[in-house]
């Protein structure tokens, strides 16, 4: 029996004549932090959306703990999109109640604790918050789940360096070692130190899937250095 946390097989996504993902196959296992790296338009978000059930693949299959994308896979995945997905008129406390109702693995106390540390009032409405604060609230919600697979799409894009530090430390400190994290980003130097594996994606193709140790040991380069070399314009 396959013990993969995430299994992707022959995955292709086409938009009309344009191929966004081309016959991807790979597996992710538990206890790893994986960087999904590639320039803009390489297919990172498309891949993530298919795994999360937000896009239908043209061909291929995706399973999460052996289950096809559906109710069971969604119980396992905690997804942070690259844009705000919460209702603007909602209060933070209402959003927390929403997560508590739908996710059995949601740790409400953890969420309130993180909010308190950041000085965010649970009575504030999202529409009154800055972009950075909204992203922090969203990250707090996502990381307050005891999920099997965290999928974070550009979690540090568009926020200041101080907020980036907070976001990354939140990810690390709330990460359960039996879970895995898939982080899509092009800000590699910021996340490099936390990664175990990397997937390089270019024009919908996986051009490299290896451990960070291998890149450093065999290639003798940092992930950032290799990325710049591979994706040089």
């Amino acid at each position: 029996m396959n013990d993969a946390l995430l299994s992707v097989s022959g995955l292709t996504k086409r938009y009309g004549g344009m191929t966004a993902l081309n016959n991807l196959s790979f597996e992710l296992h538990t206890g790893r932090i994986i960087g999904l790296l590639g320039p803009n338009g390489s297919g990172k978000t498309t891949l993530i959306k298919i795994i999360c059930g937000l896009l239908q693949p043209t061909e291929g299959t995706v399973t999460v703990k052996g289950n096809p994308i559906g109710v069971e896979s969604k119980k396992v995945i905690s997804y942070l999109p690259d844009s705000t997905y919460l209702g603007k008129s909602m209060k933070v406390s209402e959003i927390i109640a929403y997560f508590r109702d739908f996710y059995a693995d949601f740790d409400e106390m953890r969420a309130y604790d993180m909010l308190e540390k950041l000085g965010i009032s649970a009575n504030d409405r999202l529409k009154t918050m800055s972009k950075g604060t909204k992203e922090k609230v969203q990250l707090i919600l996502v990381m307050s789940r005891r999920a099997g697979l965290y999928i974070l799409d550009e979690p540090i894009a568009g926020v200041d360096p101080a907020a980036r530090d907070y976001i990354l430390s939140t990810i690390i400190s709330n990460y359960d070692e039996n879970a895995s994290i898939l982080i899509a980003t092009h800000l590699i130097s910021d996340v490099e130190n936390m990664l175990d594996d990397v997937i390089f994606l270019q024009q919908g193709n996986i051009i490299r899937f290896s451990s960070v140790d291998e890149i450093r040991g065999v290639d003798g380069k940092s992930v950032d250095g290799l990325f710049r070399e591979v994706f040089r314009c």
Binding site: L55, Q56, P81, Y85, L86, G87, D101
Partner: protein
């Protein structure tokens, strides 16, 4: 999970429909007192112009309130499923059919409530008109009985049919809007335009359906005479129109609902 979805759906939507329903009742009460305060003099054209202008404004007000409720519900459906909010909605560990069912049940309840408030508002306003015209109650009863006999609406079967028509047509109305938005999402670009075009298409189909219902009720056969008793034929006419309209609406409800579920399950593409 459906009950949880419904709970959050109601919590997120109740304010606008309740405010508009309250407005409908307030408009009815205002119309009641305004109409009542106008002295109806038989030879005063000016008074009647004012009266009909007020009735027209009131009528536009109640239509607008009902349309705003529908727009609000359809916007909520679109925003919650097909904008960035859909990233949360469709990653909840719930069945897609439950997501759609929660939206439909919630929308249906608000549409029905608006309908009830509209009828109540019209009733309140009509009492004002009856008072102003100083029509005796027994004359009204006689008039109602005559109208009832003429249109065949004194029959209990007619009342049941009318109730079914209202219930199914209301469901068809909200599902038709949701279906249009869902079909619009199949467009790779210009999704809102796609939804609007779909709604126009639905509207045309509904109009054709209404015409067929009308024709199949025997309306023209009745007009041409064909040797039958005119009164008897006329008395059953509305019942037959309602029955065929209800059947047509029911068919559309099945199409809309199945379409919403299948498209959302099989073709979801949140770009």
């Amino acid at each position: 999970m459906l009950s949880k979805l419904l709970k959050h759906e109601f919590t997120a939507t109740w304010r606008v429909p309740v405010a508009l329903d309250a407005l409908l009742i307030v408009l009815g009460i205002m119309a009641h007192f305004v109409i009542k305060s106008i002295p109806l003099v038989e030879d005063s054209v000016g008074v009647y112009v004012i009266l009909f202008s007020l009735i027209a404004i009131y009528y536009i007000g109640i239509i607008a309130a009902n349309i705003i409720v529908q727009i609000f519900l359809v916007m909520r459906y679109y925003r919650n499923l097909y904008t960035s909010e859909g990233y949360l909605t469709f990653t909840l560990p719930v069945r897609t059919s439950h997501i759609i069912n929660a939206k439909v049940i919630n929308g249906y309840i608000w549409i029905l409530l608006s309908g009830i408030c509209t009828v109540a508002s019209l009733f309140i306003a009509a009492i004002g008109l009856v008072d102003a015209a100083d029509i005796p109650v027994y004359e009204l009863r006689e008039f109602a009985t005559e109208i009832g006999t003429l249109f065949g609406i004194n029959d209990p079967g007619f009342i049941v049919t009318l109730l079914l028509t209202v219930l199914i047509s209301s469901l068809s109305a909200i599902l038709g809007l949701y279906f249009s938005v869902t079909v619009g999402q199949l467009w790779q670009k210009h999704k809102i335009l796609g939804a609007v075009l779909c709604y126009v298409g639905i509207y045309i189909i509904n109009q054709i359906g209404a015409q067929i219902s009308f024709l199949s009720s025997g309306y023209f056969r009745m007009l041409t005479g064909s040797g039958t008793d005119f009164d008897a034929a006329f008395s059953g006419l509305y019942g037959r129109i309602l029955t065929s309209t209800t059947i047509f609406s029911l068919v559309m409800v099945v199409i809309y609902y199945t379409g919403c579920i299948l498209i959302t399950k099989k073709k979801i593409n949140l770009d």
